[in-house]
């Protein structure tokens, strides 16, 4: 697997003249967990879709692995949507076999071992699974891909505390953060505080701070939650 890299230069995305993200530039290099933090409506989802090549910037450049992104960047990027994006008519079993056939980087064994650990009923239709289990299964698919870049939009939002803890555990156990670059967005910093290597604070579509998490703690002598409160105020 190649060394992961994400590069944004003066990226702006407008919807009918209304900017959703504005003039964002940063470069994320190498493995690790990158948290995109900010309140709802701060442009996190738009930023993540731009990185995943599922939106086109109104101006500026987005590159992943040194190439401008498009839908075809999906060979380097696994994108986890915040929506219920699985085919409800498939079973977990069918879903995993489908991905094995469709994505050359997909590890069926890894997917099945995760599913077994989660005690998911693989023969049940996805539409009959609980919301928490659908979220888990969605994550299993993203984590079973051996790609340099993982993009996860709000993997915790809208779930019970127990499920959230479970999902974090699933990510820590199975994301290959010594190889992969994982970008995840959340508005709940306290829960992911200890998991982040790097943070990107967003406010009103702008990136207002981008820094290594430990450096921030050392410099400011305060937690990310406190830093967030300070910079977003």
């Amino acid at each position: 697997m190649n060394k992961p890299e994400i590069y944004l230069k003066n990226v702006t995305k407008k919807y009918l003249r209304q900017p959703a993200v504005e003039n964002i530039s940063f470069q994320l290099k190498g493995n690790g967990v990158y948290g995109v933090l900010g309140e709802n409506g701060s442009g996190k989802t738009t930023l993540l879709k731009l990185i995943a090549g599922l939106l086109r910037p109104s101006s500026g450049t987005v590159k992943v692995m040194h190439r401008p992104v498009s839908r075809l960047s999906s060979k380097d990027i696994a994108y986890l949507s915040d929506a219920d994006s699985l085919y409800s008519f498939q079973s977990a079993h069918q879903l995993i076999h489908f991905w094995e056939k469709v994505a050359p980087d997909f590890s069926k064994d890894k997917a099945f071992s995760m599913v077994r650990e989660l005690n998911l009923d693989v023969n049940m239709k996805i539409k009959n699974l609980s919301k928490g289990n659908r979220a888990r299964l969605k994550l299993v698919i993203a984590l079973s891909r051996q790609v340099p870049v993982l993009v996860m939009d709000e993997p915790l939002s809208g779930l019970d505390p127990l499920v959230r803890e479970d999902i974090l555990k699933l990510i820590v156990m199975n994301a290959d953060v010594e190889q992969q670059l994982l970008v995840l967005s959340t508005h709940e910093v306290s829960e992911v505080e200890a998991f982040l290597d790097h943070v990107i604070f967003m406010k009103d579509g702008k990136c207002i701070l981008e820094e290594n998490a430990e450096v921030l703690r050392e410099q400011k002598g305060q937690s990310l939650v406190a830093t967030m409160r300070e910079v977003l105020a």
């Binding site: 939106l55 839908r71 075809l72 994006s85 085919y87 498939q90 056939k101």
Partner: protein, 269 residues
């Protein structure tokens, strides 16, 4: 890889397909039973059946794509590490297979209906008409491949148009779909114009498959003394050439790859 996508598209559309078959069955049964009593209504239903087949790919492909977006599975579909033409051809192929099944069913049903019509007329009709009617079924059987060809061509064109309209609506927002409809009509107009340039027209006229003259002969032969009237209508006689079909397919393939390119490079979630 392709087969898995094809299978997924089948799974996704199975309900719509079954529903369409059920509706068609109801229509055929209705025509079969009521053909002598409710003739105008039967005619209308038959017309609806033909239209359903011409628009089958249009409706099914549009439904499939709209559902993909409406249920947010597009987030997953667009992130599949697979080229756009593979994704779209799986959708097209699944709908086209269903179209073929449905139209085969229609042909068999029409045959049975015509046979019944024949028996009915034999019982009641005047002496002179029986001859014509007894030729109707063989003529139907002979001409059906050409009807099939025409309907398939129309259905494919509309199917490609549906994909273009939907995909373009995700490229240009808002009102991309409206622009796409205008573009489709314009492209069709230009295509027809190019097709009728004498030089181009002649270049596609190779390997005649069906001679218009022969069809007219057979149709006119249904009437006593009809063969004598033939000379009059020579102007509207057309032939079907393999070259024309190839040209038609080539243009559709070109359009398909253009749409695939749009999906890969321009479409937004």
């Amino acid at each position: 890889m392709w087969w898995s996508l094809y299978k997924k598209e089948w799974q996704e559309s199975l309900f719509r397909f079954s529903l369409s078959l059920a509706l068609l069955t109801a229509a055929y049964v209705f025509i079969y039973i009521f053909m002598e009593r409710e003739t105008p209504l039967v005619f209308a239903v038959s017309l609806a059946v033909v239209f359903l087949h011409i628009f089958y790919l249009f409706i099914m492909l549009l439904a499939s794509l709209i559902k993909e977006w409406k249920e947010n599975t597009s987030h997953l579909w667009m992130n599949l590490p697979v080229k756009g033409y593979v994704l779209l051809s799986a959708k097209l192929a699944a709908a086209f297979t269903q179209f073929l099944i449905s139209i085969s069913y229609a042909i068999v049903a029409a045959d049975l209906i015509l046979q019944r019509a024949m028996r009915m007329f034999e019982d009641s009709a005047a002496e002179g008409l029986t001859g014509i009617i007894s030729m109707l079924v063989p003529l139907y059987r002979e001409l059906i491949p050409w009807v099939l060809l025409a309907v398939t061509n129309g259905a494919l064109q509309l199917g490609i148009a549906a994909m273009f309209i939907f995909i373009f609506s995700k490229v240009v927002r808002p009102f991309g779909w409206l622009a796409a409809i205008v573009l489709t009509i314009l492209a069709n107009y230009i295509y027809t114009w190019i097709k009728n340039i004498p030089l181009i027209e002649r270049s596609t006229e190779w390997l005649p498959l069906l001679k218009g003259e022969e069809i007219y002969k057979k149709i006119y032969a249904l009437y006593p003394g009809g063969a004598d009237l033939m000379e009059v209508s020579e102007g509207i006689m057309t032939n079907v050439y393999l070259g024309q079909i190839a040209a038609e397919l080539l243009v559709l393939t070109g359009a398909f790859f253009l749409i695939s390119w749009l999906l890969d490079r321009k479409v937004e979630l």
